[in-house]
Amino acid sequence: MESIGVLMPRPTFPYLEEQIDKRFKLFRLWDNFSYDNNAIASSIRAVVVNSVDGADADLIRKFPNLELVSCYGVGVDKIDTNKCAEKRIRVTNTPDVLTDEAADLTIGLILALLRRLCACDQFVKSGNWKRGDFNLTTKFSGKTVGIVGLGRIGKAVAKRAEAFDCKICYHSRTAKPEAKYRYYPSVVELASNCDILVVACSLTKETKHIINGAVMNALGAKGVLINVGRGKHVDETELVRALVEGRLGGAALDVFEDEPNVPQQLFGLQNVVLTPHIGSATVETRTAMADIVIANLEAYFLAKPLLTPFL
């Protein structure tokens, strides 16, 4: 398999890079890669993409022998899946392995936001505690959590929030009667009826900007938004306006419309927690995700069934 060309667009996790390099002929897009070299372009049969660098029609066209797009991550929104289907290119992702971590981070962000953990840390580390007490913060236990998308991650968030005596409600494409939570047929209604709105759905044409101005107004000055999904779930320009004007109570965001660019106005706000896409950043999850990518690559080129096919 050492002659099979596998392309990586950017350095992500050293372990992943090492493991691919050991088994295949690894091409690094960031390291003097030339698309003009036909021999190389023809030898590339797989691309390992991630949440920033996908596989659009343009990239797919550049590699005539591309057979497999293996995503290091669960979201496939950056992959032109229609093009892949048309060319019979297989696509894999890394579901399940980061479900728990995404849910853990969601709760961590809720607590960091409501209880001002980051601000507390800064307050003590800057020496301000000697000058006076910190402010009152907002209790989390017992609040109502509204979840947009009750898939794997949504359910995992609900399970954790219940241990904090939270009431759970949700919106999704269709109601799930087996879930014992209150269903709302629209995101605006959900937002009107919860204190904490969590985005936990996948990004599709339908869910782009699903969190818009109307939703933010419904959530209101006492409500907060938590997004560990995709930046494009939220109308970011409107979000900045709503936060600056005080129409929305607060936000904790791990993802942004145009990573790594974060709207400058957000940095000055006290009621905002911003993390640079760390959901799935733990060593354990990165290793597990990398192992799935490798296992899919190996399975494909050994003519065995893919482990986690998306397409």
């Binding site: 853990d104 840390d121 003590v124 913060t137 790594p260 733990t282």
Partner: protein, 325 residues
């Protein structure tokens, strides 16, 4: 100067005091002893107030209430502290003198447990460190200076003290897939988690220690060098109890040398002073004794203190909840 109003000696002062004072200034004569540098007898005589006229104290843990002070107030019958802990009060002397001590009881347990979980997740997943880096997030580069994050799920969490707070912590940890175990004064038969007879034993089996017991002579430095050694190099300590539950000097030494993985600390031995070595560590999350301080608990304790003092001075049982003894 108010005359017929009952005197309340105020020490600390509790966080609620400014609001409480303005709301109840027509009901009580608040003696703001916390603001005086005089010893109590001189303070009282400077106001022409007889020590025997003081039947109640309102305090928190920012000042100690020692035996000699208690003894100098012959009519003292009620001591209201807005804290759960009573380590700042000479409790044996209160018992000897027949002074009833009213505390916040379990009022803050949920808030403190929430905060403990927040600190735990933050330290493991590096949330505060990442928040600091968001400004420096560069194209093609993941923030390099954040120490590696680690999963919450699967971690073995040892709870030191399975009282009201410890129980709420355990309940919140369960769905995260943590293995929960504990040490406590006594084994709790109705609890499904493994019990260990000492902090060293539970530390040996844990990846994370959550310290939430009350501070007594027995629990002073319950997390000492031996416990930290047993916890190990990757271990994390979260403390929402009292600073003196941990040998702070030893903890700081280990954090600086890398002999322990990280810490989430809400309390310190000499608040508001915090060891300066901690201020620059990215694997440490610090907070200013804020675990119980929410708007909700603030308003709740205001009501409890009001009802408790009212029932005491009216000598009538209260119709609304009062503080526990």
């Amino acid at each position: 100067m108010a005359t017929d109003l009952p005197n309340i000696l105020v020490m600390g002062p509790p966080l609620i005091f400014p609001d409480f004072q303005s709301q109840y200034s027509h009901s009580y004569n608040f003696l703001t002893f916390f603001a005086s540098s005089l010893p109590l007898p001189q303070y009282l005589s400077s106001l022409n107030i007889l020590p025997s006229s003081i039947r109640a104290i309102l305090c928190n843990n920012m000042q100690r209430v020692p035996a000699d002070l208690l003894r100098s107030l012959p009519s003292l019958a009620l001591l209201v502290t807005t804290t759960m802990g009573t380590d700042h009060i000479d409790m044996p002397e209160c018992r000897r003198l027949g002074v009833r001590v009213a505390t916040a009881g379990g009022s803050f347990s949920e808030d403190v447990a929430d905060f403990a979980l927040g600190l735990l997740i933050d330290v493991l997943m590096r949330i505060s460190a990442a928040n600091r880096c968001a400004k420096k997030w560069l194209r093609s580069e993941l923030p390099r200076n954040i120490p590696p994050a680690s999963r919450v799920g699967g971690k073995r969490v040892g709870i030191v003290g399975l009282g009201k707070i410890g129980t709420e912590v355990a309940k919140r940890l369960e769905p995260f897939g943590c293995k929960i175990m504990y040490t406590s004064r006594t084994k709790k038969s109705s609890v499904p988690y493994p019990f260990y007879g000492s902090a060293v034993e539970v530390a040996a089996e844990s990846d994370v220690l959550v310290v939430c017991c009350s501070l007594t002579e027995e629990t002073h430095h319950i997390v000492d060098r031996a416990v930290m050694e047993a916890l190990g190099k990757e271990g994390v300590i979260v403390n929402v109890g009292r600073g003196s539950l941990i040998d702070e000097k030893e903890l700081v030494r280990r954090l600086v040398s890398g002999e322990i993985g990280g810490a989430g600390l809400d309390v310190f031995q000499n608040e508001p002073l915090v060891p300066c070595e901690l201020l620059s560590l990215d694997n440490v999350v610090l907070s200013p004794h804020a675990a119980a301080v929410t708007s909700e608990s603030f308003h709740h304790i205001m009501e409890l203190v009001a009802a408790t003092l009212h029932a005491f001075f009216e000598n009538k049982p209260s119709l609304t909840p009062v503080m526990q003894d």
